[in-house]
Structures are given as C-alpha cells and as structure tokens.
C-alpha cells in the first residue's frame, strides 16, 4: 500500500509576532494520494502557519504524528536534520505560490528541470508534455519576469508537478490573478494533480473558487489568539 503523502496528528505550533503569541492546533490531517483539500479562513487564522508545518519549513512545538510518504518527519526535526528535511521536500513536494514562486534567474524550463533534478527524477519528455498540457510549451525558454501573472501561475504548476511529487502545497495561488483567471488556474491545478495522482493542500481566502474546482474545504476554526484545524481523516 502506498503511504499517505501527508499525515499530521496532534500538531501544535506557536507563532510569536510583536510580543503576541498565536497557536495553531492541527488535530488530525491525512491527505491520501489524489486528494484535494482547501484550508480556508480569514487573514491571521493560521493558514500560512499550517502550510509552513506541512512544508517542513517550520518546526512544530509538538507533533504526535508527522509523516511524509511514510517518513517520520517529526524525528528528523527532533534530530535537527534540516538537509534530510530538504531532501524530503525535494522528493515529495511541489509548490504553487501567490505569484508563482519561480526562481527568477532560471527560465521556466530550467525551473521545472531544477525541481526534477532535486527530486532525482530528470524527465525532459514529461516536462515538455506537461508544459504542452498547460499551454505553455512555447514559454519554456522565457524568464519568469517576462511572463504575465497567469502565465507565471501555469509555469508554477508545471514546476510543481514536473517531478511527479506526492503532494502539492499551494499558498493563495489565485490571490494575484483576475477572478476569471482564478477559476481556470485552480481547475488546472486540480485537474493536473488528479492526473498525476498528487494530493494538493491549498490555503486560500477564496472558498467558493476552491469548492468549484473540486477541493474539499476545511475551514480553520479561529479562537482567541489561536486556531484549530478540525480532524480531516478519510472515511
């Protein structure tokens, strides 16, 4: 049986800013291959903190279970094995960020190829085919700065999926695009992730657009100086 791309249980992370503390509690979150989950909530409810934890970019204060494709990430955090965590990210994660999150000094093709290289899955044919599906095969040699926002988001989806990751983390990927384009981008992301068998964890303000694209919405439950992600486990 294939291991779940992401399993978080009993995770607590406290963020301090300007003397005030904010605590996010994740009761249980399990993403199976191909599942599409949108975490929604207003600004300051902990969406970014949740993504930081899921992306292995922030060490939680506590974690009962924290597993990435079967690897115990909590143990790696405990050992301070940051390069091992980076390797996990490279192999299993793809990213689509607010304005693409592309490396500015690499072309679109080189961005996607870098993700493949880091994952150890170089596959130029797959990269070109995916770019064709996303309608950006003629943009592979272009630098990110020369692209429109919509093109950048397509390029980001290419970079996120080029190395066949198990999980795509998307942070407000439609916040900077026209509402008409937002639906297209989310639909494209969801469709391509499904075809690739990748799970997607999306953080967004735009719950209707996420639902329309087929994402299962999980609203963060805000409290005083804290937020809670209710349990989301497969039936």
């Amino acid at each position: 049986m294939t291991e779940a791309p992401l399993v978080l249980e009993g995770v607590v992370a406290t963020r301090r800013a300007g003397g005030a503390a904010f605590t996010l509690t994740i009761e249980a979150l399990r993403l199976e291959a191909g599942s599409l989950v949108a975490v929604t909530g207003a600004s300051g409810t902990g969406k970014s903190t949740l993504l930081d934890i899921a992306a292995l970019a922030r060490r939680p204060d506590n974690a009962t279970v924290m597993a990435i494709c079967g690897t115990d990430a909590a143990a790696l955090w405990a050992r301070g094995a940051k390069d091992a965590l980076a390797t996990l990210r490279a192999r299993h994660f793809g990213y689509v960020l607010q304005t693409g999150g592309l490396v500015p000094f690499l072309s679109v093709g080189a961005n996607a190829a870098l993700a493949q290289d880091l994952a150890g899955r170089r596959d130029a044919a797959h990269l070109v085919a995916l770019a064709g599906t996303l309608g950006i095969d003629d943009l592979l040699a272009r630098m990110p700065a020369s692209l429109s926002v919509g093109q950048r988001q397509r390029a980001a989806i290419l970079r996120a999926l080029a190395h066949r990751p198990a999980l795509v983390l998307a942070d407000e990927p439609t916040a900077s695009v026209h509402p008409d384009m937002a639906a297209t981008i989310l639909a494209l992301l969801a469709d391509q992730a499904r075809q690739a068998g990748a799970a997607v964890l999306l953080a967004t303000h735009d719950a209707p657009a996420a639902r329309a694209a087929g994402f299962h919405e999980v609203p963060l439950q805000p409290g005083p100086a804290s937020s809670r992600l209710p349990a989301l486990l497969p039936a």
């Binding site: 992306a55 693409g100 080189a110 880091l118």
Partner: protein, 388 residues
C-alpha cells in the same frame, strides 16, 4: 555542479550589476598589478645592467696570498661559487708579447689564468698549453687575429745581467671587449706557473707551490656579498662590486616591502568591497535563496552559491585588471622620460604578476564570500513560501 550552475545563472540575469562588480574589482587589482610590474621592471632593469658584464660577479684579491689546494677545493664546493682558478703573483705576471708576423710591435701584457667555463670568455674553447686568448686591447695594439703566431718574452735580472724566457704561442681567440680592459692574455694555469717559476728561479724546485691569488666569480649577483663576507672573515681583502649588488638587493627588499604594504591595503579593500557586495546581494536575494531551500537545496549548495559568485567576480576582475595594467604599463614604457631605456621596460607584467594576482584574488574572494555564504546557508524555507 548545481551550485556553480545556479551561481552563474544568477550573475547572467544581472549583466550590468555583474559588469559593474567586475570593473570595481579590476579598479583595485589593476594598480596592484602595475605596481608589481614596476617593481619587477625596476629591479630587473638594474639587475640586467649589473649582470650585463660578467665582471660584476668578479671578486679579486688585492694582496698576495698563500693559498693551498684544500682552500680552493673548499671554496669551489660552495654553491655561491661560479668560477674559481688559482693565479700567480699579481705584479710579477707580466711579459712582452709580439706577433710573429709583425716583429717590433710589442705589447706588455698581464698573464691571467683561464679554464673551461671562464665567465669572461663565453663560447671560447679550452686552450692548450701553447694557446692563449688575447684581450681586445692587446689584440688591437698588435693587430692580431685568431690563429696568429706569437712570442711571449719574460725577462729576469740575474746579478747585473738579464735572462729571457721566450715562449712561442698561438692566438686561440680574441676576448670580448668587456672581458678585461687592459693589455693581457688569458692562458692555461701551467703557463702562468712556468713564468713565475722562471722569475723566481724555481725551475728545479719540484715542491708544490701555493697560489698567490685567485680569479673568482660568484654564481649569481646575489652571491657576491656572501662570498666577499666569507673571504673577509678569512682575512682576505678583496675588490668587487659587492656594495652595488648589496644596494640593489636592499632596494629590492625595500620595494618588495613597500609593495607588500600597498598590496595589503589594496587587498583589504578588495576583500571588504567584494564581501560587502556579496553580502548585499545575498540579502537582496534572500527570498530566492529561501525558495531554493524550500525546493530542497542542501546547505552546502546554498553556501557555495555566493562563493562561486565571488570567485567569478575575482576571475573577471583579475582578467580585466590585468588588461588595464598591461595598457597602463605600455603607456608608462612609452613615456619619453621613463623608457624604453636600452631596450628595458620600466614596467614588466608577465605570467608571474598575473598568476599571483589571480591566485591572491581567488583566495581573497573566497575569504570575502564567507559572510555571504553563511547568510545564504541560513536561508529559511518558510520565507520561500511567502511569495508576496
């Protein structure tokens, strides 16, 4: 190598900034290379002047001595010794030389010992016992050419009368003009000994004689003061150009020290300037570095990116700096008051100057990139997620 690829890709994206950084470094490196070239040119020029005549390396005794073969063996074995041969008494070794083809034309010549490898007679083959090399002055006086027959007469007084030793000799070669200024002949040591034995009336005495002097040449210019000091410590007074050589060596040391101070100041500026540029660049690209960390780059690769960039700047700066320095050196060498002087360039920039500049630049660049590298290595992947 991934880090090198990323570092160069980043530099290519900002060609104007990269070019400015390279030119800024070249502006520091070029004067240092030019200074090194001037130091090399001045010292080499003075050395060339001194080395032009092999007599610069000559050390001569100024009083008659009594030196045994063991003394000569010990001195010849020293690394500073280039050429050493015993010679006879200073004032006694003279005779009258006459060309067989031109009787009546006579030159009074000093008799100097010679042997293969004599630095005053480069390229002249070894003489047999009946062959001599005539100095240019004597050759001109007697209108001699190689192969001419000669008669050397030595006169000694016996009571009220005179006795003459006449030796028939052949001109093997004419010595180069600078070899010896006066009328003289270079002959194998046996001829000198025979003349002195005749003058001292020791023809029947077979006991080994001690040499009254020597002809000594140091191997290198720098060896002259050493040998003079050694001989002085043995109580042997000498005549040489050791003071000139010592002054040159002192000038070399002083110029080198002065250059080192300037290079230190320039090098410090280079490190601080490049270090600040790399630090600022790393700070400016912190989000990109964080994004790379988020994508899974390890710390080592991130650390190497600013180091490669520093090395690339240093390489470009060294090449551009060398080009600038070469152009400046050419201008300096063309200045009418400064050079070229007797074919010598005042500023000499060659492979050693360029090699040293490149090696030191790369070393300094690595040092300068250390702080930026540490900053790059600490890139926070969470910052990479914040794409705003």
């Amino acid at each position: 190598m991934r880090s090198l690829h990323l570092a160069l890709a980043d530099l290519r994206r900002e060609p104007a900034f990269t070019l400015c950084s390279v030119l800024a470094l070249a502006a520091v490196i070029a004067p240092l290379i030019l200074l090194a070239g001037l130091r090399a040119g001045v010292i080499a020029g003075l050395k060339d002047d001194l080395s032009a005549s092999p007599r610069t390396r000559e050390i001569a005794n100024i009083q008659n001595l009594a030196l045994d073969p063991a003394w000569f063996e010990a001195l010849a074995a020293r690394p500073e010794t280039g050429f050493l041969i015993p010679r006879t008494r200073l004032l006694a070794a003279t005779g009258s030389l006459e060309a067989a083809a031109r009787p009546g034309r006579i030159a009074t010549v000093e008799i100097l010992p010679t042997a293969p490898g004599d630095p005053l007679l480069p390229g002249i083959p070894a003489a047999t016992d009946s062959q001599i090399i005539v100095t240019a002055a004597a050759a001109q006086r007697l209108a001699l050419r190689p192969g001419d027959a000669l008669r050397l007469r030595i006169i000694r007084r016996v009571g009220e009368g005179r006795e003459v030793l006449a030796l028939d000799l052949t001109t093997l070669a004419i010595a180069p003009a600078g070899a010896f200024d006066r009328d003289a002949i270079f002959a194998p040591p046996a001829l000198g000994r025979r003349v002195q034995d005749f003058l001292d009336d020791r023809t029947a005495d077979t006991t080994p004689r001690r040499a009254e002097g020597f002809r000594l040449h140091a191997r290198r210019l720098e060896d002259v003061p050493t040998l003079v000091a050694l001989l002085q410590s043995q109580g042997i007074e000498t005549r040489s150009r050791a003071d000139e050589v010592a002054a040159l060596l002192a000038l070399d040391r002083n110029l080198t020290a002065g250059f080192a101070v300037i290079a230190l100041v320039g090098g410090t500026g280079f490190i601080l300037g490049l270090g600040a540029a790399l630090w600022a660049s790393t700070a400016r690209k912190r989000r990109t570095l964080s994004l790379l960390r988020l994508m899974g780059l390890d710390r080592t690769t991130l650390t190497l990116i600013p180091i490669w960039q520093g090395l690339a700047y240093a390489l470009g700066g060294s090449l551009a700096g060398t080009a600038l320095a070469l152009a400046a050196a050419e201008a300096v060498n063309r200045l009418p008051l400064l050079g070229p002087n007797d074919g010598q360039n005042l500023a000499r920039i060659g492979a050693p100057e360029f090699g040293a500049a490149l090696a030191l630049s790369l070393l300094a660049a690595t040092l300068a990139a250390t702080a930026a590298a540490q900053r790059a290595a600490s890139a926070d992947p969470a910052e990479g997620l914040r794409d705003e």
